[in-house]
């Protein structure tokens, strides 16, 4: 893509007007990048064939800053939705892509984001088949917001639901917590601190597919603990199932510098956002095999059992602290805020 040939270097309100400028932007950037037979029909919507049940998930991405160590909003918008579909026990195939752009976004930044979307979609094996582009006035957005909706057929062996979770099930975590959230935090204005923390945003759909191939309905539940952190997912599970959860603080993997950054800002890593990790609640009998299986994949290399479903504390998440104490893990209220001292 030659920016100079396009004849403009920033996106303005005209690019969202639906007129010639919009067509220019779509033809030269969007259609050219995401080229595929379904999208190429340039219809108002996409038409695809499916048999049987599909899973569908939608998500909006408003991350600030838009560019961060380890990625940008573009790949996040693909990974987030691909992973949400995968966590339903489905194979993501297609996604829609909608931009809300704040006027003044530089074309080069937009192209970088679009390229990241393309790369992430290719790596995840999904096609972008329909979309939308709107431009809002300066000050009414934050550079760019993206919405994606993804869908695909259910894995034939999958039966993922909180209804399947049983007392005694093991809770397996695929990797280190809080990495993505702290990567973003380290670049927020006013909180910047020097670190090499890199977001772990990635697609998890292949690892999930392989797990389902291997273990089928012995995998009872899957969820990626993004916003709200690990605590958010665990507290939702106990609310939905009425069963309790017991986890062990010293088993939860966290990168050294992520832990240090959390200490400095006074944040609890259990409440910090994640991207490239998920939890699998599995039959106790397959716990060791699942961990071994996951550890063979780079995206599950740090997989570990962090605890189990228990009726000892019905409807509550109990964390066993390093020193042998216990505390209840409650859901996050509002945004987690850095402490004064």
């Amino acid at each position: 893509m030659d920016i100079q040939k396009l004849g403009f270097d920033t996106i303005n309100l005209g690019h969202g007007s639906g007129g010639l400028m919009t067509r220019d932007l779509l033809d030269n950037i969007i259609f050219q990048t995401f080229d595929n037979p379904i999208l190429d029909k340039k219809h108002d919507g996409a038409m695809v064939n499916f048999e049987g049940q599909i899973a569908i998930s939608t998500d909006s991405f408003v991350v600030s800053p838009v560019f961060f160590k380890g990625g940008n909003i573009g790949e996040l918008a693909v990974h987030g939705t691909v992973n949400d579909v995968a966590m339903c026990g489905a194979i993501p195939k297609y996604i829609s892509l909608a931009f809300i752009i704040e006027e003044g976004l530089s074309l080069s930044e937009f192209i970088t984001i679009v390229k990241s979307i393309k790369k992430a979609a290719d790596e995840s094996g999904v096609h972008i088949i329909t979309g939308d582009t709107k431009v809002v006035e300066k000050g009414k957005g934050d550079k760019i917001f993206i919405n994606t909706t993804g869908f695909g057929p259910l894995h034939p062996k999958a039966n993922i639901s909180t209804m399947c979770i049983r007392e005694g099930d093991s809770i397996v975590l695929s990797g280190s917590v809080a990495t993505h959230g702290m990567a973003i935090m380290s670049e927020r204005q006013g909180l910047e601190f020097e670190s090499d923390i890199v977001s772990d945003t990635t697609n998890l759909n292949y690892l999930v597919r392989d797990l389902l191939d291997a273990f089928g309905d012995q995998i009872h539940f899957l969820r990626d603990p993004t916003r709200g952190g690990l605590s958010g997912v665990l507290t939702e599970i106990v609310q939905d199932t009425g069963i309790g959860i017991s986890i062990f603080e010293d088993r939860i993997p966290i990168e050294k510098q992520v832990a240090a950054a959390c200490e400095i800002l006074g944040l609890d890593p259990l409440y910090v956002a994640n991207e490239g990790v998920f939890i699998a609640i599995v039959d106790k009998a397959i716990e060791a095999s699942v961990i071994q299986f996951m550890q063979k994949d780079v995206k599950g290399a740090n997989a570990v059992c962090i605890g189990e479903m228990t009726t000892a504390a019905t409807g509550k998440v109990i964390l066993n602290s390093r020193i042998g104490g216990k505390r209840i893990v409650s859901p996050l209220i509002g945004e987690q805020l850095p402490r004064i001292c």
Binding site: G190, A259, I323, G324, K326, G334, R339, I340
Partner: protein, 365 residues
């Protein structure tokens, strides 16, 4: 993570818990002064591991909790008058008499959450046509950085920067607690990070005058149980003196460089404490030489005086007379999403610590 992981050691912590159990022969009430210590006790589940005779009373050392309502209202008023207000994170959700800073932001106020007050000076430089105010909240711990921001602004000729000062001091609060007729505290765990700045000379006379053990204590599980053990040893043998458990960080003379900065910019003055009222000579105010950087003076907002919510018993909580779950509003009409008072907001507030980590179920001591 040297000096952290060692102090989260299971065996060592268990060893001190055992020694506490072997030493204690009667009921003792020990106040941990700092909210960070309260947080550490509850977060690590230590309260339930202590013998029943050791009762921890949660002290006033949460800067967010003791910042009076009228100062939050002043910050909100600034925010509503086109001033860029910068604040530490956990201050922004504390309810004022009408709204919190976060709510004022939702109505269009330009609120910035910062980690360092020096960043606020940069924001002032980037916005020369706007006034920028840093909400300088905290105990002695945050005073050096806040003072430094004022010195930096003066050095660089930044005139659109000022601070809304709400600095309070720990020793006067301890005295106020000890002077309270309902006070039944037998020993203190002194606030480790405050003493890292100030040293602990002031505590020696306090300990002698009130005949009370004071153990300067850190924040990790091992620090806390070791501090408690040292207090129990003194109490059981009838001693009262200042001991320094947190010697890896705290020196008797404090941080000399930080003290110099504080003394340059601040002087001691009267301060109002949320829930406790005005305590003479209990806080910092800007000295005459730095008056131009005093937001209250600059914007003429001295007049605001508002009453606390009568249902909130923050005063009794902060003085250790009542525990959070002894409040009739706790967890009912007062919770972190709808707090009646500051102790339910800050992560260091005793009410929030009880709400988040124990839901008033595991911990009842």
């Amino acid at each position: 993570m040297k000096y952290l992981s060692e102090y989260r050691n299971f065996e060592e912590t268990k060893g001190y818990l055992k020694r506490i159990e072997e030493t204690v022969t009667q009921t003792w009430k020990i106040m941990e002064v700092c909210g960070g210590q309260t947080h550490g006790l509850v977060k690590n589940g230590i309260l339930d591991l202590l013998p029943d005779q050791v009762q921890m009373i949660h002290g006033p050392g949460c800067p967010v909790c003791v910042t009076p309502l009228n100062l939050i209202d002043k910050a909100v008023e600034l925010l509503e008058n086109d001033v860029i207000v910068c604040s530490f994170g956990d201050m922004i959700r504390v309810p004022g008499s009408k709204k919190s800073l976060l709510e004022a932001k939702a109505h269009g106020g330009d609120l910035r959450v910062l980690y360092s007050p020096l960043e606020a000076v940069n924001i002032a430089k980037e916005n020369p046509h706007k006034e920028v105010v840093f909400f300088a909240v905290g105990f002695e711990t945050t005073a050096p950085a806040n003072a430094l921001s004022v010195m930096q602004a003066q050095k660089e000729g930044v005139t659109n920067y000022s601070i809304l000062v709400s600095h309070v001091l720990v020793p006067p609060a301890m005295e106020a607690i000890l002077d309270d007729e309902f006070c039944n505290i037998n020993a203190f765990l002194g606030a480790g990070h405050v003493c890292a700045i100030m040293g602990y000379k002031d505590y020696i006379s306090l300990s002698e005058h009130y005949r009370i053990p004071i153990i300067i204590t850190g924040f990790e599980p091992l620090d806390l149980v070791q501090g408690i053990y040292m207090a129990i040893c003194q109490l059981e043998s009838g001693q009262y003196k200042v001991e320094n458990q947190y010697s890896r960080v705290v020196k008797e003379e404090g941080n000399v460089a930080a003290l110099k900065v504080i003394n340059e910019v601040f002087e001691i003055g009267n301060r109002e404490w949320r829930g406790i009222g005005e305590i003479p000579n209990s806080g910092y105010v800007l000295t005459e030489a730095y008056r131009a950087y005093d937001a209250e003076f600059k914007f003429g907002i001295h007049r605001l005086h508002v009453a606390e919510n009568p249902k909130c018993i923050a005063g009794e909580i902060l003085k250790g007379i009542k525990k959070p779950h002894q409040c009739s509003e706790f967890g009912k009409h007062c919770n972190p999403s709808n707090p009646l008072g500051a102790p339910m907001v800050s992560s260091e507030g005793a009410c929030a610590a009880y709400y988040h980590f124990s839901n008033n179920v595991i911990t009842s001591k």
